[in-house]
């Protein structure tokens, strides 16, 4: 067990380092996040000037939500990307054969690798634009240490849920060979249902109820609501439980799919 833990840690650490080598791309990305954050802020300000408590958010909540959204885009990899894209590429090229003969769990490997990547993106693409937003606007911050901790847990769970979704998308390449179509579809669904463009709290009627039980709600809406203090006390634990449940369901599903993929490759020789 300890040996496996040390392997996963080593994998995550190297994944972090791997992303950190592309400095220019990181800087360009931070710049993009800042620009889009500003644009969204102006739109949201216009909306909240019309309706000062739309969706139960005040203007400060809304602006804070924008910067949290910019911070989470790359951290959870809303539009795919990250370690799961490596898997899809390796299936396409056939390099996945190398992964298969190693005495290592594929799901654990890619999860560790994606967590390392997410931490790098959180520290760069997450923190920097948020600091930029905080300089220009008044933002709201977690009210207590407990909320900070809950937000941290929620951010990790946001990554694991999105990893589960992205892994399923990538694993489809075992059957389709090219996952581009499914990836595009998944990116649109994720962008819409994560609340990245329009917060889920603004969705009308039953669409809001539906969107808030789908896995994509874990990407941004749940961590943001914890940060903003919309979930307090037992509510906050429930929200974390919701994310944890989706993590378990998706990872179990991924495990099953990889098992099938393995059978397909090994038995049918695909």
């Amino acid at each position: 067990m300890r040996a496996t833990g040390s392997l996963w840690f080593a994998v995550a650490q190297r994944s972090f380092r791997r992303y950190s080598t592309y400095r220019a791309a990181t800087l360009a990305g931070i710049f993009t996040n800042c620009v889009f954050g500003l644009i969204f802020c102006f739109v949201y300000i216009a909306v909240w000037n019309q309706n000062p408590d739309a969706g139960g958010y005040d203007r400060t909540d809304a602006i804070t939500y924008v910067w949290l959204g910019q911070a989470m885009i790359m951290t959870v990899a809303v539009w795919n990307g990250g370690a799961t894209d490596d898997l899809a590429a390796r299936i396409k090229s056939g390099d996945v054969a190398v992964d298969l003969y190693r005495p290592v769990n594929l799901l654990g490997w890619y999860l560790a690798s994606d967590l390392g990547r997410a931490l790098f993106h959180l520290l760069t693409r997450g923190v920097a634009p948020t600091v930029f937003g905080a300089v220009i606007f008044d933002l709201r911050y977690p009210a207590s240490t407990l909320t900070w901790v809950q937000f941290a847990v929620s951010a990790v769970l946001a990554v694991t849920v999105s990893f589960g979704v992205r892994m399923l998308v990538s694993a489809s390449a075992f059957w389709l060979l090219d996952d581009t179509g499914i990836k595009n579809l998944a990116a649109v669904l994720a962008m819409f249902f994560s609340g990245l463009v329009v917060p889920l709290v603004l969705f009308p009627g039953w669409t809001r109820d539906l969107a808030s039980v789908l896995p994509w709600a874990s990407y941004l809406q749940v961590p943001a609501d914890i940060w903003l203090g919309k979930h307090v006390g037992g509510d906050a634990w429930m929200a974390l439980g919701f994310q944890a449940l989706w993590t378990l369901v998706l990872l179990a599903f991924c495990h099953g799919v990889l098992q099938l993929a393995n059978r397909k490759v090994v038995v049918q020789g695909g």
Binding site: R17, G94, A97, V98, Y101, P103, V265, V266
Partner: protein, 320 residues
Amino acid sequence: MSMIEVRDVSRSFVLRRRSGRWRRTAHTVHAVSGLSFTVEPGEMVGYIGPNGAGKSTTIKMLTGILVPTGGTLTVAGLTPYVERTQLAQRIGVVFGQRTALWWDLPLRDSYELLQRIYRIPPARYRTNMATFTELLDLAELLDTPVRQLSLGQRMRGDIAAALLHDPDVVYLDEPTIGLDVVSKSKLREFLRQTNRERGLTVILTTHDLHDIEQLCSRVMVIDHGRLVFDGDLAALHAVGGARRTLVVDLSEPTDPITIPGAETVKVEGPRQWLAFPAEASAAPLVAAVAAAHDIADLSILEPDIEDVITRIYTSTPPPG
């Protein structure tokens, strides 16, 4: 106990081909059929055959990432596709056209990850790293990201990666592909030494027959999924009907020379190529040519393994 035992192994694939707008017909392709051989510990075996003969299919079954459709096989006493995880500790694999190294990371990091994957004891890891760094000239490369390595450097890195966990058997699938002459000979020297010192069993698939001539005491030839030859190099020459070639430069162009016991295979101006059985003496042939013609120069070509292989390939009819 043999290191590898393959008994009557076959593998077929079902392919579905579109035969109409909606209809698809399935047909079966036999990649490997009725394959049997054993490899003893410490042997270095060349496994050759034309493209699509079933080499990679065999290697995949020996690593456990492909299940045979018939027959039995064991490697180091384990059934590969059943005990793949245990087997992984005992085998090393180099796919010449793929890499087991991590593209964006310094070479050193790949080895550190492999140490954890294979749970190599630290002391063992340090000695192996020291040995391979020296023998494969890796010292300068350890801090270079793999994507910046040349093909030859990367291949050396990959070979070390495959041997780091002290496997009993290593499968090398085209390890010298794309390498220059110097890199090839260095790599061969390393393999020879490792085989000798560690008693490593090596299965080598290649299209470069010099690899085989210089490394392998035993050759297996596969064609159309069947083993068409299994034996040493001398036997391979005998089976292939090896011939030597006398090349004569005459003083002037003439018609093809006809001499019993030899066949004129090529004429190019005043130069002619006469093939004769490898075991026959060249002296009477030279004398016979000299008697009838004015010879300016001559040389004798030893049998080429490539020719021998070509003969074996072309003499085996496709099954069915």
